[in-house]
């Protein structure tokens, strides 16, 4: 039985609990009209409803995690399972096939070893479904009864409901935090496996990158990630920033200091629209329009190695893509500089541009720096543009007309290939992902700290 059904069941029961508790509260009121209830009848309803729903939902979620393992354990306990190969891919496949037939997703098995396991699977699934359903009901009813029996006219359900509302909100906010932690842990696990095969020293200091998914054993010399880091930094943090910082900053200055409000009303949303364009659209703009133009330009100025995929093409388009990140942060922080600063400078006889350069930008600098950091972290994590326009060759070169590859591109290439999941040519993707994750996390963290300190300075 799917957890969704169990959760729906819990909500149905909690509705019943709500109605019952509310009418109980009305009954208190009717029995003794002189006495005031400590809480409104609705709160009594919510109190019992929460007692029904929360334990039952918690159980249903836990059960959905636990029950597949229980099913598997009882299937493996069956004598027919002793014929299975001990470990590895084949064992997983056979179990998967038997399970698919048992749940009705497939009609027959390919591997004869799976055939005798179908029946045990079906039985175990059925058994644990029933158990799950019964326990959910028991937990819901038990919780509801406990809550219902505690209702008294003077029992203050309002503060208790209020407290559980806080709890529910806390859980909601924890989801994002726990997801981050989960991503980190899953990356960590595979990264450790990868570093068991290729030493971190070779990985972090080697300059040659050509993982071969077909090679029987990993040659650490092929897993030097320096060219990838270089390509990522060159495209995302250098070329893209050379485009995005001046353009973003200048458009922010124009919009906050020079534009009339009607121009601003039109320009600002248009600029922010850039951030909403799907990156794949930028990708083909880069690959089909910008890259050939960059190549022709390179060849025209006599660079014979200019290729049709180049770091410059990808970096230019990426720079345009992140202009809104830089400009909207810069815009906010320039606008947050108190008007009194501006007036003070203007009243000293400074021109508008002197005021901007000497007072507004220095005062807004922390916010601008934070915006740039967020933009860099966005740029180095960007994938589609580099996949389409930067190339696959791991070149360690400063020539922007050459093809270069990035961490994100290699992750895509490694995970979409034919390699198996225990080969370093695939696992390497997790190590790269881990590094990328750590770098962007650090950048975001520092940027947020900078913004926070800056806000404190003016409030």
């Amino acid at each position: 039985m799917s957890p969704a059904i169990l959760i729906l069941l819990a909500f149905g029961l909690s509705l019943a609990g709500w109605l019952a508790a509310r009418s109980r509260a009305w009954a208190f009121k009717r029995a003794n009209p002189a006495q005031r209830l400590a809480s409104l009848p609705g709160y009594h309803g919510w109190y019992v409803a929460l007692w029904v729903a929360v334990p039952a939902v918690v159980f249903a979620v836990a059960w959905s995690i636990l029950s597949p393992n229980l099913v598997l354990a009882s299937v493996l306990a069956d004598p027919a399972a002793s014929a299975l190969p001990a470990f590895g891919f084949e064992r997983q496949t056979i179990l998967g096939e038997a399970r698919a037939v048992a749940t009705g997703k497939a009609f027959a098995v390919f591997n004869p070893l799976a055939q005798p396991l179908i029946e045990p699977f079906r039985n175990a699934l059925h058994r644990y479904d029933i158990i799950g359903l019964l326990v959910t009901l028991a937990v819901a009813l038990g919780g509801g009864t406990f809550g219902f029996l505690r209702l008294r006219p003077d029992f203050n359900t309002r503060t208790r409901v209020e407290r559980s509302v806080m709890g529910i909100l806390l859980v909601a906010s924890l989801v994002a935090v726990l997801t981050t932690a989960g991503i980190f842990l899953s990356l960590l696990f595979e990264t450790v496996r990868f570093f068991g095969m290729v030493s971190p020293v070779d990985f972090l200091t080697g300059t040659h990158w050509s993982p071969d998914p077909m090679a029987a054993s990993a040659d650490p010399g092929n897993y030097g990630a320096i060219p990838l880091f270089w390509g990522t930094l060159y495209i995302g943090a250098i070329i893209a920033m050379v485009v995005a910082i001046p353009l973003g900053l200048m458009s922010a200055i124009y919009l906050t200091q020079y534009a009339s409000s009607s121009v601003r009303k039109v320009m600002k949303p248009l600029l922010e629209l850039l951030a909403g364009v799907p990156t794949v659209v930028y990708g083909y703009f880069a690959a089909l329009t910008v890259a050939p133009a960059v190549r022709d330009f390179g060849q025209a100025i006599g660079i014979a190695s200019a290729s049709s995929e180049s770091a410059l093409a990808a970096g230019l388009v990426m720079g345009v893509m992140i202009i809104p990140f830089v400009s909207s942060m810069a815009d906010d922080s320039i606008a947050a500089v108190p008007q009194a600063m501006r007036d003070g400078s203007l009243a000293m006889g400074a021109t508008r541009s002197e005021t901007i350069v000497k007072v507004l930008i220095p005062a807004a600098l922390p916010g601008i720096v934070a915006g740039v950091m967020l933009a860099v972290s966005r740029a180095i994590g960007e994938t589609m543009i580099v996949v389409m326009a930067a190339g696959a060759a791991a070149n360690l070169s400063a020539n922007p007309f050459q093809a270069m590859t990035t961490v994100t591109f290699q992750i895509v290439a490694m995970l979409t290939g034919e390699g198996s999941f225990d080969h370093p040519a695939t696992l390497g993707a997790f190590a790269l992902g881990m590094l990328l994750f750590l770098v962007t996390l650090t950048l975001n963290f520092v940027a947020l700290r900078v913004v926070k300190r800056y806000r404190e300075a003016y409030e």
Binding site: A347, M348, E354, K358, P362
Partner: protein, 269 residues
Amino acid sequence: MNAPLNAAAENVFPEPVAEAKISARNVSVYYGAKQAIDSVSIDIPKNYVTAFIGPSGCGKSTFLRTINRMNDTIAGARVDGEILLDGEDIYRSGMDVVQLRARVGMVFQKPNPFPKTIYENIAYGPRIHGLTTSKSELDGIVESSLQRAGLWDEVKDRLTDSGTALSGGQQQRLCIARAIAVDPEVILMDEPCSALDPIATARIEELIDELRGKFAIVIVTHSMQQAARVSQRTAFFHLGKIVEYGTTSDIFTNPRQERTKDYITGRYG
């Protein structure tokens, strides 16, 4: 400046000013469709402190800001009439606003030092106007400006600290020093003590008194006691017009207009 006053202005101008630094003639200010100042004429003398008093919203700050054209920075603001600084219309086309503001300095209601060091705060004006040619000359201006603002002894050992780290009263004196540093002819002060405690206020008032005689000072204030203490001339604004303008002692002891008397005796405002 001896441009004749119009009849309406004569009515509120009891004695001729020997040396008018600023002469306003029929100045009206509009914010969009709303009129904030209605045909104000006034002569402001050199070497004295002139106070603008009046209830909130009477236009005294708006009028102050027309004198260094700070209203230009407000979208939709429009100024009619003429304001002469040493006989020169500051609203004529081709007037260099930057030069004007170097000659007419301003101190704001809330101290607004730049988030830079104390030294850089003072050096800001001389630098943008190219007043000095050497570092030692600039050091001299910083020191003398801080001396004149009575702040030197308190900050001479920490010129590299941030200007925003000073106390409110010190910040305001820093702003006065900053205004003095470009050697202006007029200093406009828009309620310079309204954000300060009584001790810091007394210090600023002393300072204004010391600076009198070197600059024409125009101060907007909500405090009638302050106007009485620091100014030699007082203009009473009400509903965008000057109701009465005269020597401070006349305005406070012998007001000619009923409305002035009511305001000064605290009947409204």
